[in-house]
Subunit: 425 residues, 2 copies
């Protein structure tokens, strides 16, 4: 089944809010083989919304719209849908009850604008929004379905998964089985990987497809297959998945879909090791990737965001004389940070980062009084320290790009290095 998504809202077109809904809806539909054919992002403008709906209703049997349903005057989607599908706007008592209940729970007084969210076209079937105030509206015309959903991501995703997708599957049952398998690799370029896999990929059966999904520092390989015999398809894709994992085994981080943080937690859990972090330039980015994962606490004990030199010393025991001599961005400091946080937390393995995220902070070559030359450190220079059960190693990378890119790459590199250390342990 092919689906069109229309994301509505001025805030999406001016870049104040990023449309994450469309991608997340696609992810929720993928296991059922439902594909997003196209996404259109349009302004809170009746003409633009109408044109997008026209095109979408022409192009696919299912159309999902997100946004344009808030209580403020920017929002014009509902009257437009009413005009488009016919009928008139009436107050839905169940929606009113839901809104009142939500406001009561939050202890906020309800006002006219919010109360008017209960107005819905008579031409739609309302799906009650259990997690927010904007009602979800299901329209049908000529066997096609348009579902209008709110723009708030958590409302949309929760209601889509629990109520909307099941009803869509009831209306449009699947004819074919579909399967996906993922392999995640690191430390290899996309083109080198493509060459390595070229022959295998060419020999893939026609009902299978391999997609390269690169992100900074890692590449996701996603194998998709479809077929009428679900059991056979499963067997076949598992065989191909094993082959693929074997070909790229030197660079594998995970053989299923996972974030790099999830992959680390799995490796650490498997080896029964606890993990700590000492972050200077990444400033909490590694910690926050790990703690974003539910249930991380059996592996991740925590760490220090040692942004100032003083805190590197007081919390992690880094020698101030070493900072003075080699600079905070150095192999010596990275090593002491990793060792220090392992000592502080009692963790089995630990990673430390200290670098120059930029855009300023680059240092030139320095010659110390005793003749030692400290090399220049351009923006993007990051030293990593990895501690693993008594062993300590450090390495340096220089990442190109903006501050957020340097931080992101450094966090990914730190997690990859931890995985490597755990595998070697």
């Amino acid at each position: 089944m092919e689906v069109s998504i229309i994301a509505i809202g001025d805030e999406l077109l001016i870049g104040q809010v990023v449309d994450t809904n469309s991608g997340n809806l696609a992810k929720l539909m993928a296991p059922f083989g439902w594909q997003v054919k196209q996404v259109e992002v349009v302004a809170d403008n009746a003409e633009a919304i109408k044109a997008a709906i026209d095109r979408a209703m022409m192009s696919t049997d299912v159309v999902l719209t997100t946004g344009g349903l808030g209580p403020t005057k920017d929002d014009i989607t509902k009257p437009l849908l009413c005009k488009y599908f016919g009928g008139e706007l009436v107050r839905d008592p169940e929606v009113t009850g839901n809104i009142e209940e939500i406001f009561r729970k939050r202890g906020i007084k309800m006002n006219t604008l919010t109360a008017d969210q209960a107005l819905v076209p008579t031409s739609c079937r309302v799906i009650q929004n259990r997690v927010g105030t904007a009602p979800i509206m299901w329209f049908e015309r000529d066997g096609k379905v348009l579902v209008s959903m709110p723009g708030v991501p958590f409302e949309t995703l929760q209601m889509f998964e629990s109520a909307i997708m099941p009803q869509l599957l009831e209306k449009f049952p699947n004819e074919e089985a579909i399967e996906h398998r993922t392999v995640i690799v690191a430390n290899v370029t996309e083109s080198a990987l493509a060459i390595q896999l070229d022959q295998w990929e060419r020999a893939l059966p026609e009902n299978f497809h391999l997609a390269y999904l690169p992100k900074p520092g890692i590449i996701r390989l996603r194998l998709d297959g479809h077929g009428t015999d679900g059991a056979l398809l499963k067997k076949e894709i598992d065989r191909l998945h094993a082959e693929l994992s074997e070909i790229v085994k030197d660079n594998v981080i995970a053989i299923h879909d996972a974030t790099i943080g999830e992959a680390l937690l799995e490796h650490a859990r498997g080896a029964r090791l606890t993990v700590a972090t000492a972050e200077s330039c990444t400033g909490g980015a590694i910690a926050s990737q790990l703690t974003a994962i539910a249930g991380c606490s059996d592996v991740y004990v925590g760490g220090v965001v040692a942004y100032s030199n003083e805190l590197k010393h007081t919390a992690l025991g880094v020698d101030m004389a070493v900072i003075e001599r080699y600079g905070a961005v150095s192999s010596e400091v990275a090593a002491q940070m990793a060792q220090g946080v392992a000592k502080l937390t009692g963790a089995d393995v630990a990673v430390a980062t200290t670098g120059i995220a930029g855009p300023t902070g680059a240092t030139g070559e320095r010659r110390l009084p005793d003749g030692l030359v400290i090399e220049a450190k351009p923006v993007g220079t990051v030293w990593f320290g990895v501690y693993a059960k008594g062993n300590l190693m450090t390495f340096c990378r220089c990442f190109p790009g903006t501050r957020d890119r340097v931080i992101d790459r450094a966090a990914t590199t730190a997690l990859t290095a931890l995985i490597k250390a755990i595998k070697a342990n």
Copy 2:
């Protein structure tokens, strides 16, 4: 000037990668009054790309495409553009030189797939990509311009700002001046704000518009104005901006466009105060929002991600008996964490978080042996501790939604509370 954006790539439609480019391009064009009319996200599929280009070229004078230019076989945009605008694919020696240079710098061996990135249609003018390997292609037809850019966000944004936008402005000079002003507020609902501003908003001159841009925990108010007399427009919008700031002053966080982290750094810098963080449930999210901002180090000294109870004790001096008695998610622990991190770091102000991000971890009501009743803590419960120059206060919130939403709301609430504490200081 109105602009269409076409974001190309299977990875965008399946939700593996979120299209952040379109929003960021919109932000870069906004100061010039250029508006994104619509964004289409399409698959790596020749027919879909062609249809999107047809529509976009019909609808606006400027069309920007991102993605579809990588070295692997998913990518088909370039041959399609060649067919669409005519000519043939030829090897561009300058692009080849650029790719060779990049690979030399990174110390990676170049392969055939990458070398073929230097193939460009004769019908385009090449804009050299200074930060990546995929060339940027400028096509013209009937006075309209299509610029094909790579999908990698940092390449696209850097090249757009430095090279593409200046050339677009040369081709299509602006006729009208445009101005924006922003006010950011917290602790108020969108609908309450709309009612508060209703009268003022109705009285706005016709060439001004107010947009509500809510994010969890804060609302951005963006005032846009346009006019032929730039100086007059500036004067007028500054007057309206001052009026707006005054009306909502009780809830103001910033009177210009800023993240909540930036707003905190400004307030702290203005008050000459240093800041530290002690995070349990937010797990580094606060630290990482602050360290994402260049130049944060004069204000933010760092902190502790005290995920385990042991680390709350060893790094922050939280009393284990207090954790045992009241639970880690409690007013008492939040207070000790805030005080502890201020002591450890010497910071003037500090915030601490300890909560249940979920999806599991809720606790029921407990009665202690001495009769004290510890109330139930549902998922989403977060205790905050705020330390400000010797003063200590705590408060509790219960956030709805998923784990990432709880963490995000808790981080925003912590930053808002710090701003409030600094303002009161």
